[in-house]
C-alpha cells in the first residue's frame, strides 16, 4: 500500500494486538494468553467495503470491536481520520463514537425489548443532544423510511418484528448519527436467504447514499464476495491474505484461502471442482502452532514453515499474502 493511500485512509489499523489472559491455579494467576488478534494491519478508504472473513475463533469480531474502541487493545494503534483513537479524551471519544457505528449479528439480542423502536433508534441522537425532541422524532421517521420500514413501526416494540425487520432496525440505529464508518459484524448470518438478499441490497444502497465505509465481518465467503471491494482473510488471529475482490476470487494465493473457497458448497449440481479438504480442526489460539499458524493443516507445507512465521508481503498480482510459497 502506498503512503498516499495511507494518508487518505478513513481507518488505519497498525499492528493491532489483543491478547486475553487465562487465569488458573489457586491464586488466579495468569497462566497463558489467548492471542485473539496478533499483529493485524490494514486500512479502509472512505466509502469502501473491506470484508473480513475467517472461521469461528479466528479473531474477526475482536478486530471489529477493538477498532471501535469497545475493547482495549493489547498493543498497536488505530487511526480514524488520522487521529489515534486510543489517545483521545472522553469528550473527543464521545464525538468520535457518533462517526463510527456497529451492526450486530443477532437482531434478537441486540435490541432492548423495553424500548420502542423510535426510542431505540433515537437513543444515539438523544445522547449526542441532536435537535429538539420533535426534530429527533422526525429524524427517526426519516431513517425508518430509508431502511424500508413504515412510520407506524416507530411506536412498536422489538418482539413485534421478524428477524429481517429487526436487522433493519439495527441498521437504522447505526445510521441515526450519520456515521462515516460502520462495522457490520455478521449482519446477515442469522437471516434466511430470501431476507438476506434484502438486507445486503439495503446496505449497498445506504453506502451509496451516505458514502459509508464498511468493515464487513462474515464467515460466508459468497456474501463477502458480493459486498466487498477488498477482502482480508484471517486465520488464528492473523491476516493471511489481503486482496481486491476480483483478485482474491480469480486467484486465491494462500493455501488457506484456496481451501476455504473450495469448501463453499456451490448451488449448482453440475459444478465440478477440485475440492481441497483440510485435515483436522482449527488449533486453539491459546497455543498456536509454531512458525506459520496454518502449517499443521496446510497441503503445501514445507520444512521451514514449521519454524519461521511468514510476513505479509506484496505479491505481483497486487494482493498481499503471508506465505512462504511466495517468498
Amino acid at each position: 500500500m502506498s503512503e498516499d493511500s495511507k494518508a487518505n485512509a478513513l481507518v488505519q489499523v497498525d499492528h493491532l494486538k489483543k491478547y486475553y489472559p487465562v487465569r488458573g491455579g489457586v491464586l488466579r494467576q495468569i497462566t497463558a494468553w489467548v492471542q485473539a488478534v496478533d499483529d493485524v494491519s490494514f486500512e479502509i478508504q472512505p466509502g469502501e467495503t473491506v470484508g473480513l472473513v475467517g472461521e469461528s475463533g479466528c479473531g474477526k469480531t475482536t478486530v471489529g470491536r477493538t477498532i471501535l474502541n469497545l475493547i482495549d487493545p493489547t498493543d498497536g494503534e488505530v487511526f480514524f481520520e488520522s487521529k489515534n483513537i486510543y489517545d483521545l479524551g472522553k469528550k473527543e471519544l464521545k464525538q468520535l463514537r457518533s462517526e463510527m457505528q456497529i451492526i450486530f449479528q443477532d437482531p434478537f439480542a441486540s435490541l432492548d425489548p423495553r424500548l420502542s423502536i423510535a426510542d431505540s433508534i433515537g437513543q444515539g441522537l438523544r445522547i449526542h443532544k441532536r435537535g429538539s425532541r420533535r426534530e429527533r422524532f422526525e429524524q427517526v421517521l426519516d431513517i425508518l423510511n430509508k431502511v424500508g420500514l413504515e412510520e407506524y413501526h416507530a411506536r412498536r416494540f422489538p418482539h413485534e418484528f421478524s428477524g429481517g425487520q429487526r436487522q433493519r432496525i439495527g441498521i437504522a440505529r447505526a445510521l441515526a448519527l450519520k456515521p462515516k464508518f460502520i462495522v457490520c459484524d455478521e449482519p446477515v448470518s442469522a437471516l434466511d436467504v430470501s431476507i438476506q438478499s434484502q438486507v445486503l441490497n439495503l446496505l449497498r444502497d445506504l453506502q451509496k447514499e451516505f458514502n459509508l465505509a464498511y468493515l464487513f465481518i462474515a464467515h460466508n465467503l459468497s456474501v463477502v464476495e458480493h459486498i466487498s471491494n477488498r477482502v482480508a482473510v484471517m486465520y488464528l488471529g492473523k491476516i493471511v491474505e489481503f486482496a481486491t475482490r476480483e483478485e482474491l476470487f480469480r486467484e486465491p494465493l494462500h493455501p488457506y484461502t484456496q481451501a476455504l473457497m473450495s469448501a463453499v458448497p456451490v448451488p449448482n449440481p453440475d459444478y465440478e471442482r477440485n475440492r481441497i479438504i483440510l485435515e483436522g480442526d482449527v488449533p486453539s489460539p491459546l497455543d498456536p502452532p509454531s512458525g506459520c499458524r496454518f502449517h499443521p493443516r496446510c497441503p503445501s507445507v514445507m520444512d521451514h514453515c514449521k519454524e519461521r512465521e511468514p510476513e505479509m508481503k506484496p505479491h505481483s498480482s497486487g494482493s498481499q499474502v503471508a506465505c512462504w510459497l511466495y517468498e
Partner: protein, 340 residues
C-alpha cells in the same frame, strides 16, 4: 435408481400442529414425499417452513403442545404412526436414525462419548461388553475420528464441533439403519469442517447405500448432496424434483426467487434479486396460495385465483411436481404456462 423401485419411506398427507396460547400453529400442513432405498432426499426451506417438524414427526418425537394430526408415515410398508411406542423404540436406531444441528448440545455432558455411542448397542443388541467396545472403536474409526481408542474416553466438552458431529453420526450409524435423517447436520460448523462432514456423509451413501433425508436451508449443500429435492414453504411442499431439474429448470416462483437471491462465488452482481416481504404467520394463514403475497408471477399475470384457492401439489411429470396455479387448471382458470 429405477423409477418403479419400491419406496423405503412414504409420507402421505402428514399434518403436525402445535396448540399454543396464540392459536394453532400449522407447522406441517399436508406433506407428501417418498424416499427410495439408497437415495438422498434434500428438504430445503427457510426457518419455520416445517422441515424439522417433518423429520421429528417421522420419528414420532413430537412433544406437547405439538400433535401429529393426520396422515401416514409408511416405512417398509408399515405405518409408523400406528405402532405402539414400544415398537417405535425398535424402529428408532435400528431402521431410522436422526442427527441434529447442534452436536454439542445433543450429547450428554456427564458421560464420555464412547459410553453414549455404546449405549445404542446395550439397548438394541445382545452384544457382550468387549464386543460392544470393539464395535464402538470401529465406528469411531469409520467416521474418521483420529486416535479412536483414546477418543472414546473423551467428554463432549473436550471435542470440537466437527468431532462431536462425527460422534453423532457414529451413533446414528451404529445399528446400520436403512434411513438416516440429517437435520441441518453442518449448519453449526465452519466451512472447512462442513466440507469434511459432507465428505463423510457422501462416503456413507456410496459405500453403505444408506438412504438419507437431508434437511438444510443451504442450497449449496443440497446441490452437492441430494438426488432429489423437496422445497418447503410455510408447512407445505411447493416443488419436488430431481436435483438437476431443480437447479436448471425450477418452476415454482418461490424456488426461482430463492435460487436467484443467493450470492454465488465467482458470479458477481451488484444487486441481488429479492423476494419481497416475509413468510406469513403459520397461525393465521391467508386463504389461497401461501406465497401469493410475495409472488411476482401472480402480479405479472394478474391472477386472482392465487389469493382465493390453494393449489395442490400437482405432478407435471413422473419426476416433477409443483404447487402453483401457473401450471394448473381449475374451474374457470387455465394454466398460464405449459411446461411440456
Amino acid at each position: 435408481m429405477t423409477e418403479n423401485q419400491k419406496p423405503l419411506l412414504e409420507v402421505k398427507n402428514l399434518k403436525t400442529y402445535f396448540y399454543t396460547r396464540d392459536g394453532i400453529v400449522k407447522a406441517v400442513d399436508g406433506v407428501d414425499f417418498q424416499v427410495k432405498p439408497g437415495e438422498v432426499l434434500g428438504v430445503v426451506g427457510e426457518s419455520g417452513c416445517g422441515k424439522s417438524v417433518t423429520s421429528l414427526s417421522i420419528m414420532r418425537l413430537i412433544k406437547k403442545p405439538g400433535k401429529i394430526m393426520g396422515g401416514e408415515v409408511l416405512f417398509d410398508g408399515k405405518n409408523l404412526l400406528d405402532l405402539p411406542e414400544k415398537r417405535m423404540v425398535d424402529v428408532r436406531g435400528n431402521d431410522i436414525s436422526i442427527i441434529f444441528q447442534q452436536p454439542q448440545s445433543s450429547l450428554n455432558p456427564v458421560f464420555n462419548v464412547g459410553n453414549q455411542v455404546s449405549e445404542v448397542f446395550r439397548l438394541h443388541s445382545n452384544l457382550k461388553k468387549n464386543q460392544i467396545k470393539k464395535r464402538t472403536v470401529g465406528l469411531f474409526q469409520q467416521v474418521g475420528i483420529p486416535d479412536a481408542d483414546e477418543k472414546v474416553r473423551s467428554y463432549p466438552h473436550e471435542m470440537s464441533g466437527g468431532q462431536a458431529q462425527r460422534v453423532m453420526i457414529a451413533m446414528g450409524l451404529a445399528l446400520d439403519p436403512k434411513l438416516l435423517i440429517a437435520d441441518e447436520p453442518t449448519t453449526a460448523l465452519d466451512v472447512t469442517i462442513q466440507a469434511q462432514i459432507l465428505d463423510l456423509m457422501r462416503a456413507l451413501k456410496d459405500n453403505q447405500g444408506t438412504a438419507m433425508i437431508l434437511i438444510t436451508h443451504d442450497l449449496g449443500v443440497i446441490a452437492e448432496m441430494a438426488d432429489r429435492v423437496a422445497v418447503m414453504y410455510a408447512g407445505v411442499i411447493f416443488e419436488q424434483t430431481d436435483v438437476r431439474t431443480l437447479f436448471n429448470k425450477p418452476l415454482h416462483p418461490y424456488t426461482q426467487g430463492l435460487l436467484e437471491s443467493i450470492p454465488a462465488l465467482g458470479e458477481f452482481k451488484e444487486y441481488l434479486t429479492v423476494i419481497p416481504g416475509s413468510v406469513p404467520s403459520l397461525i393465521d394463514l391467508p386463504p389461497g396460495c401461501r406465497f401469493a403475497s410475495r409472488c411476482g408471477a401472480r402480479t405479472k399475470y394478474d391472477l386472482n385465483i392465487c389469493t382465493e384457492i390453494e393449489p395442490t401439489l400437482n405432478d407435471l411429470s413422473p419426476s416433477h411436481s409443483v404447487r402453483c396455479w401457473l401450471y394448473q387448471d381449475y374451474e374457470g382458470h387455465q394454466a398460464i404456462l405449459d411446461v411440456a
